[in-house]
């Protein structure tokens, strides 16, 4: 069943001779043909996120001739993005992602319309933004937005082509298809912050979002054409290291608060609060985490203060750069806490200050009192104290 793309005012859609030539490899396939290519041309697809997943998505949907593409991203191209966000060139660093992506995609296919939304997706703008599109593709990187995208799609009756990655594993499915499950059927609640390691703390193989994003592009095209079997009710799991695909059944949950029999969610909520992230924005001291800035740490070390440095990052991070601290990765801390001397004043650090804050909370519960979190971690140290230190 094809997703209706004729909900907007009908206009006579034809292919020019140039387009016939451009899409000839589609046109000669019975599964696409002229009719299918016109469906693609009439389709309006919104990409949330123009990063790792958004890159292959944008490229393949533009190449396929999806007539109207929307790109939503508030971010700017960063040098570290180039390891996987293949729509961007080195010369794009510093530009807004939507602007750089639009340029690249227009170069690939100037016959389609590309609309950019350089904005953060919020409960205030999601419904209005999604309304004009037929299919929403979720290429975001955080839990609050994933719940927001899911809920908005469900409330508007639009399918949500979902893909997500972590290190070398990926997931893909289609949520919000009539009769099929939604994201909340699978995950009614988000994990508390800090309990599931974030991508930043885990890293990712650059090519992984290339594969998963391409799968999302494939599913989007299938939905538009109404061909093949889309991943509705099927969770595709991909393990890149083992090079194995597995599939799990996704069922609609009758008790789902959003799409079940007794719905309790009928409008968009505050997703940051839902995911417990708002609480994290409170000033560190009220959470009981004492801090020290890199400048102050350097000053105290220069003065000869006896400070013990504990580094809670991973060994491969230590090799990139370090402050000569003792390395006990966060995950090993409970097991190895006896290696630490609670009578000494201890500065705990990680890359950006988040893992070290978690470490301090643990150590406080274990009875340590003389603790300081290095505010901003080695990244801030590189900014404030030692510019020769590599940032990663």
């Amino acid at each position: 069943m094809a997703i209706p793309t004729d909900t907007l005012p009908k206009q006579e859609v034809k292919l020019s001779n140039e387009e016939v030539l451009r899409y000839s490899r589609h046109l000669i396939m019975p599964e696409v043909g002229l009719e299918g290519q016109l469906k693609l041309k009439r389709a309006r697809v919104l990409l949330i996120g123009t990063g790792g997943l958004g890159a292959p998505l944008g490229l393949y949907l533009a190449a396929a001739g999806v007539g109207h593409l929307g790109l939503v991203d508030f971010d700017v191209v960063d040098f570290s993005n180039l390891q996987r966000q293949v729509t961007f060139a080195t010369g794009d660093v510093g530009k807004h992602k939507t602007e750089a992506a639009k340029a690249r995609l227009s170069g690939l296919n100037p016959t389609i319309e590309i609309e950019t939304f350089e904005t953060r997706l919020t409960s205030e703008n999601a419904l209005e933004l999604f309304r004009d599109f037929d299919i929403i593709v979720d290429g975001t990187d955080n839990f609050p937005t994933r719940f927001l995208v899911n809920d908005a799609c469900l409330l508007l009756g639009k399918p949500n082509v979902y893909g997500s990655i972590f290190r070398f594993e990926g997931q893909a499915t289609v949520f919000g298809y009539p009769g099929g499950p939604c994201y909340r059927c699978l995950y009614p609640e988000p994990p508390p912050p800090g309990l599931v390691p974030s991508c930043a703390e885990g890293g990712v193989l650059g090519v992984l979002p290339g594969i998963v994003g391409s799968i999302q592009a494939m599913e989007t095209i299938k939905l538009i054409l109404g061909t093949g079997e889309p991943l509705v009710g099927r969770l595709l799991l991909f393990d890149a290291l083992a090079m194995r695909f597995r599939e799990l059944k996704l069922r609609r949950n009758p008790a789902c608060p959003l799409c079940g029999e007794h719905r309790t969610i009928t409008k968009l909520i505050d997703y940051e609060e839902f995911c417990g992230i708002r609480g994290e924005e409170a000033p560190p001291m009220t959470n009981g985490i004492p801090e020290i800035t890199p400048k102050d740490l350097k000053a105290r070390q220069d003065r000869g203060d006896d400070l013990f440095i504990l580094d809670v990052r991973e060994p491969h991070e230590y090799q990139i750069c370090n402050l000569n601290g003792k390395l006990i990765p966060l995950g090993e801390l409970p097991r190895r806490v006896s290696e630490l001397d609670s009578s000494r004043e201890m500065v705990v650090h990680c890359r950006s200050g988040k893992r070290s804050a978690d470490a301090i909370q643990f150590l406080q519960k274990a009875g340590f009192k003389k603790l300081l979190n290095l505010k901003g971690g080695v990244l801030a140290w590189a900014d404030e104290v030692d510019p020769t230190m590599p940032k990663y």
Binding site: G52, R84, D138, D141, R167, F168, E169, V196, A242, L248
Partner: protein, 105 residues
């Protein structure tokens, strides 16, 4: 002949997702003997104690952002933790992951 329930433990494999492998000594799959899914998970968290708080709440319920599958079926739609296992079954732990453009924090 009446076979007492839960008496026969089956050889099952539990697949560990990447985010949790740091708690299982990096192993991606653990073999154990269990008669039910609950027993398999109990055996797992017995061997790898740090895994427990990531799978279970303090009240001993499986966390809602973790899904457990027996072969390809979600145990919530079977008999939950009492779902009986057979020799050669695979139990998958599927946590929610969110990475897409991985902005560092």
């Amino acid at each position: 002949m009446f076979v007492e329930e839960g008496n026969y433990r089956m050889a099952v494999k539990v697949l560990i997702p990447t985010p949790l492998r740091q708690f299982t000594g990096k192993q991606a799959s653990i073999e154990c003997n269990a008669a039910t899914v609950g027993q398999a998970l109990g055996s797992l968290t017995g061997t790898f104690a740090e895994l427990r708080k990531h799978l279970y709440t303090e009240e001993g319920k499986i966390r809602s952002f973790v899904n457990v599958y027996l072969n390809d079926e979600d145990i919530r739609f079977l008999d939950k933790e009492n779902t009986r296992t057979k020799d050669g079954d695979t139990i998958s732990i599927v946590p929610s992951i969110a990475g897409g453009s991985t902005e560092p924090k």
